[in-house]
Amino acid sequence: MANLSSVLEVTSATHPGMVRSHNEDSIAADTEIGLAVLADGMGGYNAGEVASGIAVAMVSTEMKKALAAKKPDELNGKAAETLIAEHSAKANAAIYQAAQSQPRYSGMGTTLVVALWHDNQISVGHIGDSRLYRLRGGALEQITRDHSLLQEQIDSGMITKEQARYSQNKNLVTRAVGIDPEVDAEVHTYTVQPGDIYLLCSDGLSDMVTDEDIQLTLSSLQSNLPLAAQQLVQQANDNGGRDNISVILVRVVRDFPVRTGLLERLTAWIR
């Protein structure tokens, strides 16, 4: 297993916001294996926290075990995508069973976004409306596409992205972890460039802070990621902080190819 702790710089922040009494978001990041996981739970009492907690704990610990058993060159885009899909499905089954067996957890669920960096690539899986963004060369791009009613309305041309800001239907997800016996994560793989900054966030950020302000914050404060994370949370709170806010920021410091061929290993050794 490749160790990416010298390749990725990770910082995170999570805050209950200005309105909610408790934080139902859960986050985890492990630079060694190059993994970041964020979940935004939903459900009465503390069931939302339970659901997001199960999802993040299961995905991060189980994926760490699975990755430890793999050689770096076994982990290509396809294998990474399978790994994310499998472990999202396992988390779904665990939450679903807990919700079925205990009445106080009935109906609990969570969104999930999982990012895994490997061999100059990132594989990302998501379920629901928690997002992955990428800042590259000063431009911010939303990589994941929400599984939400609003996104479907945008896709069908019913409303524009601009109009979507004023919608009251912001919080209806069309896919979630733990609600049904089975769920499919949407998983894709992208090429990574040194200098990229990735942002995983819950809708507590993306609903309260415009993409323009996220872009401005990340590009002006990229030399100080902890401050950038703190500023993002602060802006969401300054704008009302109506939901829990969680962010994970990951900077790719340099490239990280997996060397496979004999020649490549030799040149790596000579250098």
Binding site: M18, V19, R20, S21, D40, M42, G43, G44, Y45, A47, G48, G107, M108, G109, T111, G128, D129, S148, L149, Q153, M158, I159, Q163, R165, Y166, S167, Q168, N169, K170, N171, L172, V173, T174, R175, A176, I179, D203, D207, M208, V209, T210, D213, L216, T217, S220, L221, S223, N224, L227, Q231, Q234, Q235, D238, N239, G240, G241, R242, D243
Partner: protein
């Protein structure tokens, strides 16, 4: 449930609940809201309601549809919007007080269920029965969002109402140069050497150290790593450059 209040020259004619997915407005009698007036087109406009959102669309009418005085083609209705069709006015009232109380609950992320056979009700708030720590959902937010249910849209409190400040450079080749702080974040200094950021917040302006071994100096005092509130006529020293912060209005 949302409703429209139809009025002419200040006197209310009728109230129309938005209880159908599509409600049409026009001169022809088959419209859901018929308006007998020559300035109104046969099929003038329609309102499509999906859960909490109502979309007003002009159906290519001759004289157009106004919302709060502005002509629109398509518009997501916000509480207290006034639609004008000819001389008639239709006021949009988003939700009754009962629904308003649950608005905060509803705002939580929840799953929109597709299958009607599912035991869980369609789009049922999963947070039912959760004690709300904040008794007034809108109290913590929306200083000027009007009387209606606060919309969870990205607000920009840094709007016209907020004060505007600027910095003026006091020494060096750019002395006298002024920079208005109109953005939420403005970085100052030399990347790689020393950078600080001035953030514009509802409470005012703040300066925070971003990078470099030296910390910014304000009025001769070196800052720590925390954000520091800026006051009118503060003098900032950064990477050898002195500048004055001042409130413009």
């Amino acid at each position: 449930m949302a409703k429209l209040i139809l009025s002419l020259e200040g006197s209310v004619i009728r109230e129309v609940p938005l209880d159908k997915e599509r409600i049409t407005i026009g001169r022809k009698p088959q419209n859901d809201i018929p308006i007998e007036n020559l300035a109104v087109s046969g099929e003038h406009a329609c309102i499509v309601t999906i859960l909490n959102d109502s979309f007003l669309e002009d159906l290519g009418s001759t004289n157009g549809t106004l919302v709060n005085g502005n002509p629109i083609k398509k518009h997501i209705l916000q509480n207290n919007d006034v639609i004008e069709i000819g001389k008639y006015k239709l006021k949009y009232v988003g939700e009754g007080p009962a629904a308003h109380a649950a608005a905060d609950d509803f705002e939580k992320t929840m799953l929109l269920q597709r299958s009607p056979v599912s035991a869980k009700a369609a789009a049922a708030p999963k947070a039912q029965g959760e004690p709300q720590a904040m008794p007034a959902p809108a109290a913590a937010a929306a200083p000027a969002a009007g009387s209606g249910p606060a919309t969870p849209q990205p607000r920009r409190p840094a709007g016209e109402a907020q004060l505007l400040a600027a910095i003026q450079i006091l020494n060096g080749p750019s002395a006298g140069k002024e920079l208005e702080l109109t953005k939420n974040l403005t970085t100052l200094g030399k990347p790689g050497v020393q950078v600080a950021v001035i953030t514009r917040r509802p409470q005012g302006y703040f300066i925070t150290h971003v990078e470099g071994a030296t910390l910014p100096v304000i009025n001769g005092k070196t800052l720590d790593a925390q954000a520091h509130a800026l006051n009118d006529h503060d003098v900032i020293e950064l990477a050898g450059v002195k500048m004055e912060f001042f409130i413009k209005k």
